[in-house]
């Protein structure tokens, strides 16, 4: 047994999500989160840059997954359009990361985030970072600007709308289904 309980980072994430849900984001202090996790405030800030970041630990993995899936979708035959490729990548990522227990976790997280503007801000910049990464991947595979950025932005539009509908939908229809459906709607709304 080590000098400390293992998984400090995970304990902080769990404590933060619980407290934000119980009392609201503004009404919980970092000291309280740390205390619930059996740590100190200073340690919280060693693991997370600020009070918001603690809810976004998974976005790194999401970005890597998405970039990889985009590249692989781009390589399919017959060559899909950029948005088709991103749609496929989003769906694959969703089937990987938004299933099982992640499902209810994602919903709890989303409820907390939408309740607080500062957290929504952080979520938006994570999405933008995702879009930038995807746009970079597209550029490296022959899609030129401004098409690459636009396709990536279209991808985030699809994801945002699909995720919103998935979260508020009853039952257990997979997120990927909403993604495909939403992508089709975007197509119809974009064409005259």
């Amino acid at each position: 047994m080590g000098r400390w309980e293992p998984n400090a980072r995970g304990r902080l994430q769990k404590a933060a999500l619980e407290l934000y849900a119980e009392r609201g984001f503004d009404a919980t202090t970092v000291a309280e989160i740390a205390a619930r996790a059996g740590l100190t405030e200073r340690t919280f800030f060693r693991h997370f840059a600020d009070k918001r970041e603690v809810l976004f630990g998974g976005s790194q993995a999401m970005e890597e997954h998405l970039v990889k899936a985009t590249v692989s979708a781009l390589a399919q035959e017959p060559g899909p359009g950029p948005v088709e490729a991103i749609t496929a990548a989003l769906a694959e990522m969703a089937d990987e990361l938004f299933v099982g227990e992640h499902r209810s976790l994602a919903r709890h997280r989303h409820a907390v985030i939408t309740a607080h503007p500062e957290l929504r801000e952080r979520e938006l910049i994570k999405m933008a970072s995702l879009a930038a990464a995807v746009a970079g991947a597209l550029r490296e595979h022959g899609i030129s600007e401004p098409g690459a950025s636009l396709a990536a932005e279209a991808g985030t539009a699809i994801f945002k709308v699909a995720f919103e509908r998935w979260v508020s939908a009853p039952g257990d229809r997979p997120l990927s289904a909403f993604i495909h459906e939403t992508a089709a709607t975007l197509k119809s709304v974009t064409g005259s």
Copy 2:
């Protein structure tokens, strides 16, 4: 002559933009901004909710303008698709708000904002608020969900990309030209 110099709010905005540009966002304190404007820190926070908000005083006007323009575009004959309507609205708004001295101001502002993640966050949530307002207008004019939200998101995608290109383009080609061009690219990238 009143008890105080007039236009405290404007002086704060000017001082903040200057200082953020000179020293960077992190390196300037609210007390310094207030001092340059001949006011106190407490007064700064009466005019602006936080240190970032001082750069986004115009977004209210932009939102109102855009909603109005969207509604009027929707009423054109022959009835345009949702994204066509938003594109027209964006272009009209651009020709109204991003000309003359606003042009260089917008560029300075944008340089400061892109240099600091916290400011980019704020800009993103302003865009999201814009998109929500436009989506609401679309819904009130017969566009159902998820089409309304998707079209609004497509609009922000167009604006973000077009604005980026406009800002970094030499010469004085109007923003509205970039908007129309970008909208066409989105169409081509979305269709297979």
